[in-house]
Amino acid sequence: MRAFISSVYLFLYAPIALVVLFSFNAGRNASEFTGFSTAWYGKALGNTFLVSALQNSLLIAFTSATLAAIFGTMAALGMERMAPRNRAIFDALFAAAIVVPGVVIGIATLVALVAVFSFVNPALATIWPGDQPPQLGLGYGSIIAAHGLFSMALVTMIVKARIASLGRDIVEASSDLYATPLTTFRLIVLPQILPSILAGFLLAFTFSFDDFIIAFFVAGSKTTLPIYVFASIRRGVTPEINAIATLVLVASLLLILTARILMREKKTKSGE
């Protein structure tokens, strides 16, 4: 059994390790390690297309994760106060947002936005006083909206689980001592759910940063990092892609590990 388990872990990590190893390869040959070099990282970071795709991805991930953290937490707090029947509707919609395959979310968002734009843009053109009416189109906004949907569902799920494990008595004690609901929230509830909000934010950021398929449909003319990497892979496997892939791996690794540490802290505390 031990041998089987070890080989599964090897299976999970060896391919990743290989990409990381060859990103430091001095030569171009993909099957032969000819010496250590960081040249491909220099080449990758000197690539202006790549850097602008990276900036787009960071902007989109930060914005969608921030919106998701705020609105998702609010939704989790609000759902707690709802009648069970209304809560079930929200639960079902959030579950749908998580379970529906990304390719379908991408298509549905694309179709809906294009339909809305085809009404709004001519209307804007007629009422616009100047010569150059603004044209709504796909881009940052549509990617943030589509990523925000999944992320909000994710944050709501995580924060709701945390709220459910909170002790009611401490909240009641606070209001018995004449704290206003807002004070109780600020001093009692918020500090306890903050780690799970942060964990939700980081997972949402990671999701958005790594997502390819949704952005592929709704990005319009914008390029995110995964879209750039996908396009380069189709042009051929090069050591430069290994370097970019390693950077992407390290970034998501740091984010997910931080998120897990935050969530574990929650577990040990609630276990006391």
Binding site: V8, G78, V99, P101, V103, L110, P226, A245, V248
Partner: protein, 288 residues
């Protein structure tokens, strides 16, 4: 509670959920309605959508039968392959592993799931490609082995990509398992094998069903793995959808395929939940 405080309470609740509710309406419910409307429309001559009410798109579905077959065969096969590897791993983590290292070992399983699927699939392109394993094989005299762009490569990529997602729910259900039941079974003279099949396995079935349903559903919409490891030869529904929306711009037909895909997903979810509930339900009765 007075009527006034009640109203105020309701207003606060409404204000709290309003942004998320708006988001769900505008970016989930509305898009699904739009997709449904498009599925009954026609392709405009220049591509895109033209208003109509026709079932022609659905009647056309058989022209993409190959994509449906590939997906409907490889997704369950892939999920089952994941399950075969995932169950022993989850069992080891939940029951056998040293508690001191358990958290690290579980983290090591979870972490790959949150790292880019694109990068992880790319790694296999690298390994299976002509300069990878086939190159090594040619050094020992086995020439012309093709690994990339085969159904086997797609299946391997599927197992690699979705194994963590299968392990997690099974691990959770096994971790919750009451150890006293296992002891009771042993005390009553059951052999370890019969304890496993009579107690452990049935009690972990909800986790198994969750894992199988999640992985199958996500695989039904998979695009990257067949695209990169199947090289256009092993074509999934996801690949057909990208082609229809971004290349041939036949949006109504693409919408009809997407609607059909969602219908399949809903059916799988309902069946999985029914089985999971039935198992959980009867077991609870048994225990009481």
């Amino acid at each position: 509670m007075t009527a006034a405080t009640n109203t105020k309470r309701n207003l606060v609740t409404a204000a709290l959920v309003a942004p998320a509710a708006a988001w769900l309406m505008i970016f989930l419910v509305l898009p699904f309605i739009a997709m449904l409307v498009f599925a009954f429309g026609e392709r405009a001559p220049e591509g895109g959508y033209q208003a109509a009410f026709t079932f022609a798109q659905f009647a056309n579905l058989p022209t993409r039968a190959a994509a449906f077959w590939n997906t409907l065969i490889l997704a369950p096969v892939g999920a089952f392959a994941c399950l075969m590897i995932a169950y022993p791993v989850a069992y080891y983590l939940a029951v056998k592993a040293n508690p001191r290292y358990r958290l690290i070992l579980v983290s090591l399983v979870v972490v790959p799931f949150w790292t880019s699927l694109l990068v992880r699939t790319y790694a296999w392109m690298y390994i299976l490609g002509s300069r990878g394993i086939p190159n090594l094989l040619s050094m020992i005299g086995i020439e012309d082995v093709r690994m990339l762009n085969t159904p086997g490569a797609v299946l391997l990529g599927i197992v690699y990509g979705y194994l963590p997602l299968m392990i997690m729910p099974i691990y959770v259900s096994l971790e919750k398992l009451d150890r006293r039941l296992l002891e009771a079974s042993a005390d009553l003279g059951a052999k370890p094998v019969s304890t496993f099949f009579g107690v452990t396995l049935p009690l972990s079935l909800p986790g198994v069903m969750t894992g199988v349903a999640l992985v199958t559903i996500l695989l039904l919409g998979e695009y990257l793995i067949p695209q990169l490891l199947g090289g256009g030869k092993v074509f999934f529904i996801g690949n057909a959808l990208v082609d229809l929306f971004l290349q041939s711009r036949n949006w109504p037909f693409g919408s009809a395929i997407a609607v059909t895909l969602v219908a399949v997903v809903v059916v799988i979810l309902m069946v999985a939940m029914r089985i999971a509930f039935r198992v959980a339900g009867t077991r609870q009765v048994d225990l009481v």
